[in-house]
């Protein structure tokens, strides 16, 4: 199996996972998720209740149409029906609906909608009902990897302030009851422990990106990243954020160069001199 085909298959797996998460998070299926209780059953469906918008207010009938387009697009993306276009349309409709409720613009939904648009580029070339022609699968896989690395990097940058590093922010979340579990309460029992955990989380996020990019450290970084998101989902229930990140981390699973390095696949041929 060559690298292009391997990339195509990996992207299709991510596409199915992201499409499924998009459907679950934006439809009545959200009831299956224990975290996001404060959401419309059809996310963004206007029902006359008040909110603030991030852009020009759109008539309710247009928002309803966008919700329908988003849902159909998400289903087509997951099933692989011209996923490149249906996925990009679904992501665009989802973002347009999100601009109509500023309070709903959470990190989880922004991550999910961005992932939808990115995975649509080449995610529909395999395991699809109506497959797309490959555009540049390896570049698309690289794009998803860059996106994951950028999320960790920005998250680390956001923690550079004194408030986080001193452990006061994490202590405030503990006091608000946002960090659950006996283990978490023990770990964050004192200001010194809060500070240590805060620094550890910052270091982890700062190192995860580079560690995922380097082939030698990738496998270890993947295990750590998966464990990190699983622990966060258990302890702070960050909506479906961890699930979206786990889907995107599939882009780092396997190694394009492994077959070449091990000799099971011939190295790329050298360009012929004329």
């Amino acid at each position: 199996m060559n690298d292009e085909l391997r990339a195509t298959r990996r992207l299709s797996a991510i596409r199915i996972a992201v499409g499924a998460l998009l459907i679950v998070r934006t439809t009545p299926l959200v009831a299956l998720v224990p975290g996001p209780a404060h959401t419309n059953v059809w996310m963004g469906w206007p029902d006359g209740r008040w909110t603030t918008t991030l852009a020009t207010a759109v008539p309710a009938i247009a928002i309803r149409a966008l919700v329908v387009v988003r849902t159909l697009g998400a289903a087509a993306l997951m099933l692989g029906v011209r996923a490149r276009w249906t996925g990009i349309v679904a992501a665009s409709a989802a973002i347009a609906v999100l601009t109509q409720d500023a309070f709903a613009a959470t990190h989880t939904l922004r991550l999910l909608f961005a992932a939808t648009g990115l995975v649509a580029i080449d995610g529909g070339c395999a395991r699809a009902i109506v497959a797309d022609r490959p555009f540049a699968p390896r570049a698309s896989l690289g794009l998803l990897r860059a996106f994951v690395v950028s999320v960790y990097a920005w998250s680390a940058v956001a923690k550079l302030g004194a408030e986080w590093m001193s452990g006061r922010t994490i202590a405030a979340f503990r006091d608000d009851g946002l960090i659950a579990g006996i283990g978490a309460r023990v770990l964050l029992a004192t200001p010194a422990r809060c500070e240590a955990i805060a620094i550890a989380v910052f270091a982890l996020e700062a190192l995860l990106g580079p560690a995922l990019l380097f082939r030698r450290t990738r496998a270890t970084a993947l295990v750590v990243a998966v464990a990190f998101h699983v622990v966060l989902e258990i302890v702070v229930h960050p909506d479906l954020f961890g699930f979206v990140m786990l889907a995107l981390l599939v882009s780092f699973v396997g190694d394009d160069q492994k077959a070449v390095d091990s000799g099971t696949q011939p190295p790329p041929s050298q360009p012929r001199l004329q």
Binding site: H38, T51, D101, F147, V149, W154, F173
Partner: protein
């Protein structure tokens, strides 16, 4: 197609990984991108209704929740006490928010005070909106 791809991917990558996050860090109405659980900000809301006799009555922000979308109601509930987090765009929409409370009780006018601070020991930024309720 293939020769065009790296450039397209580079542009999309720069946009999604750098330009858009930087934009959210500069224009902070929805919170800086990927800054989960790092905000030390907090806020508090006071709603005071004045009725026809001039009597003042304090309304709980939670009583407005049925009029708000679920996403808006969640951070407003219980915000008569300091709550951890930020209220995106509410400062600019405070008069419209205040008008929602006109239906609660027989108020002739309403004053909503939004207090915000970026850190627990920072100065409090106060925004006040007073609206006259239609009879």
């Amino acid at each position: 197609m293939i020769s065009r791809a790296p450039r397209t991917h580079a542009i999309v990558g720069a946009l999604v990984c750098v330009v858009l996050p930087v934009a959210t860090w500069l224009e902070r109405s929805v919170g800086p991108a990927w800054s989960m659980y790092t905000s030390s900000a907090s806020y508090r809301l006071h709603i005071v209704a004045i009725d026809e006799s001039g009597a003042r009555r304090t309304l709980a922000p939670t009583s407005l929740c049925p009029k708000l979308t679920p996403a808006a109601g969640a951070p407003i509930a219980g915000s008569d006490h300091w709550r951890h987090g930020e209220l995106p765009r509410l400062r600019a929409s405070l008069p419209a928010f205040a008008r929602l409370a006109c239906d609660l009780g027989h108020a002739t006018s309403l004053t909503v005070t939004l207090e915000e601070r970026t850190r627990p020991d920072d100065a409090i930024h106060t925004t006040v909106a007073t609206v006259t309720c239609a009879p």
